[in-house]
Subunit: 419 residues, 2 copies
């Protein structure tokens, strides 16, 4: 899909030489001789540079032909830069202002230049450090509703939707990573798995847990077969940057068509993992209590705003082939349309709980862990908190049909922590 | 997708002139001067010719650039010949011998040459005429299991499966016909709808039936978003030809990725519609009773063989990313794999009932009707039988979660007829 003949990875020295003639960068930064470059990539897959001058700053993200988290032994297609660019264009159009401004895409170099978000922090880091992000739940709830609804057959012209489905079906390599690392590895003795010392018996119990594994397989089938809407595909708190007032979604290379509940559930899982680890990062008990209340409130607001905005779009923008306005409103039956909405939201909610439960498992027992747990140096404490989070995740995945509200789930989180 | 510059519809006179230089035809039929041609198309979309000589016979099927059932006012893409050819190749590979042998595909002429099935009859016609087809249920049950399993992520390499998904996403026009004519039109006052005089109140009651319309919308969403496997997409008894010993599936131009239950449910719907109309075509009560037993037995055998063969493939060919052998058998837990199988078959069954219920509605209240009903000249009798079938179809669609076995559904068919 991409022209790769001249692909070479950038570094801090070569970047100004190689990008210094690009009008988009010069317009923002001035001449390349004045650029200051630093590499800040801490993700699993890419190079990320911040390029600054006295006139401004930009971010340059370049895909590597292997998975950085593992090394050159895991080759990866550069096409993901293409899919990220296509996805960010769509997500930005569907919820204006919620992704970084895009300045330049160079397919040959698998390279994307975009707005440098500053003073934004990665949300995962901000939450660990105790920052308050009062608008986070609201912004992400609205983002989820708008992007998931507007990328679906409830909203889009069906020919455009199916063409997009076909396009993103090409992102098979990154879909395969999710299918393997998220839905399978944590539930077997996979070579890439790793976990905190002390969790051996827990990992073994997970591998013997038939109900959990059946749930994992069912959620994997939902993920692989339910081509409902364009997902971000990796919407954890490390894929969101925020200030007290602003929230931005980044890192969309895992974008693909999938079930609405996936993005919702992954995000909620990371808020709940932040909840279970907050005390370890806050010696002060009152600060920890306050942070716990805020994290659960963020999860609640996120779901409630999602449901409210999704309902608003359902009522006002149901223009696609699944709209069904012809069967309900056009026949004077607005109540039928509301009943259909309630049933759809219920499906998204059950899916979200299932995906959240699986995501928690993969972040504790699989390859890619999260700083909330990894930054806890007391391994006994870390393992104990991880066991609590796993018990919670299992409950979500296996009993997802028995929890009707986000408040009910938040209460379960509180009660499991109290045990 | 197709080169159309030189497309012209064939007729009986021009066919030997235009195809007489094709080696595939000459090899089977001898020189074109000896060919005898007749047009036999009675479907909704295409020209179909039987070309015979003393040496043999072949079928030539050519797509028309409009929908034959409506006329030139409904233009249709010729690409459907391409998708039919691609689909028949795959379906034939997945269940060997169950589709006609393909001799030639000419994309420019949207033309497919294949084996002339003889003395096969279209199954719908054979069932109306009282022929016994003792292997029909078995053959179609096996066909459904093999094609639906082997086109899915339970079986296929995922990159090939996703490439196929992308390819068939291009068959958007025919998918759109199904989405509109099957799932929407019957439940509203659509211009293309038609129905037997006397059904006005019934049609009106359907349009006011909120639970049924919600079910129709849910099944439409399953159809449009659940890209589980390559479907035939129009597997009614007019798309099957049979003798007492052989069964062949034809007419795959509606092929697309969708939920397994769709092909299963559409087929069962037509067997049940044949059941409800059998007495009208058999003055002899004992013949009608025997035909009724056989039709319900065919439905039962079809589902049972589907489930048995699907289970066999699940146990022996689960090689795709959804296989899950790594979570179950490889960890010594064959029981877990059986539990996952049972849950998957249950989903296919509920879907099949939902789709069957919707299919019955569209064949009685929508544009495209079926000969079982249309051939009943007594309009009062026809309307009465259609009302019974609609009540049965509504029960399937709305209460699909309450009927656990094909025998339970067959008993409901018998009891509804008795009312």
């Amino acid at each position: 899909m991409l022209e790769r003949i001249s692909y070479r990875p950038l570094d801090c020295d070569s970047l100004p030489l190689r990008l210094g003639d690009r009008a988009e960068l010069v317009a923002a930064l001035g001449p390349a001789t004045e650029w200051r470059v630093r590499e800040v990539g801490d993700g699993n897959l890419n190079l990320v540079f911040i390029v600054e001058s006295d006139e401004g700053s930009l971010v340059v993200k370049q895909a590597l032909p292997y998975a950085r988290v593992v090394g050159e032994s895991w080759p990866m297609s550069l096409d993901r830069a293409f899919f990220e660019h296509e996805a960010l264009k769509r997500l930005g159009a569907r919820d204006s202002g919620r992704v970084p401004d895009l300045k330049l895409f160079d397919p040959a170099q698998a390279l994307l230049v975009m707005e440098h978000l500053t003073p934004h922090k990665v949300v995962r880091r901000a939450l660990i450090e105790g920052e308050e992000l009062p608008h986070l739940g609201e912004h992400l709830g609205l983002y989820l509703a708008r992007t998931l609804f507007r990328g679906s057959d409830w909203s889009m012209p069906t020919a455009a939707r199916k063409a997009d489905l076909a396009l993103f079906a090409g992102n098979v390599e990154l879909a395969g990573i999710t299918e393997e690392l998220v839905f399978s590895d944590p539930f077997k003795d996979a070579p890439l798995n790793r976990y905190t010392p002390g969790l051996e018996a827990t990992a073994q119990a997970v591998r013997a847990d038939r109900a959990l594994k059946i749930a994992a397989q069912e959620m994997k089938a939902r993920f692989a077969t339910c081509a409902e809407t364009l997902l971000h595909g990796d919407l954890h708190t490390g894929s969101v940057m925020a200030t007290a007032d602003d929230t931005r979604v980044i890192d969309a290379e895992f974008a693909l068509y999938g079930p609405m509940g996936f993005d919702v559930g992954v995000l909620l899982a990371h808020l709940w993992m932040a909840y279970f680890t907050r005390k370890a990062h806050r010696p002060d008990a009152r600060a920890a209590a306050r942070a716990g209340d805020q994290l659960l409130a963020t999860a609640e607001i996120c779901w409630r705003l999602f449901a409210a905005e999704f309902s608003r779009l359902w009522r006002t923008e149901r223009t696609g082939i699944l709209g069904g306005r012809d069967l309900f409103e056009d026949q004077g039956d607005a109540v039928g349309s509301e009943a259909a909405l309630a049933r759809h939201l219920d499906t998204v909610w059950r899916d979200a709980l299932g995906f959240a439960g699986i995501e928690i498992h993969r972040r504790i027992l699989g390859l890619a862990h999260v700083a909330e747990f990894e930054a806890i140096s007391d391994l006994g404490l870390r393992a104990a908190l991880e066991r609590t989070a796993l018990a919670f995740g299992r409950h979500l995945a296996v009993n997802r049909h028995d929890m009707d509200t986000v408040n009910a789930v938040n209460r379960i989180a509180r009660s499991m922590e109290g045990r």
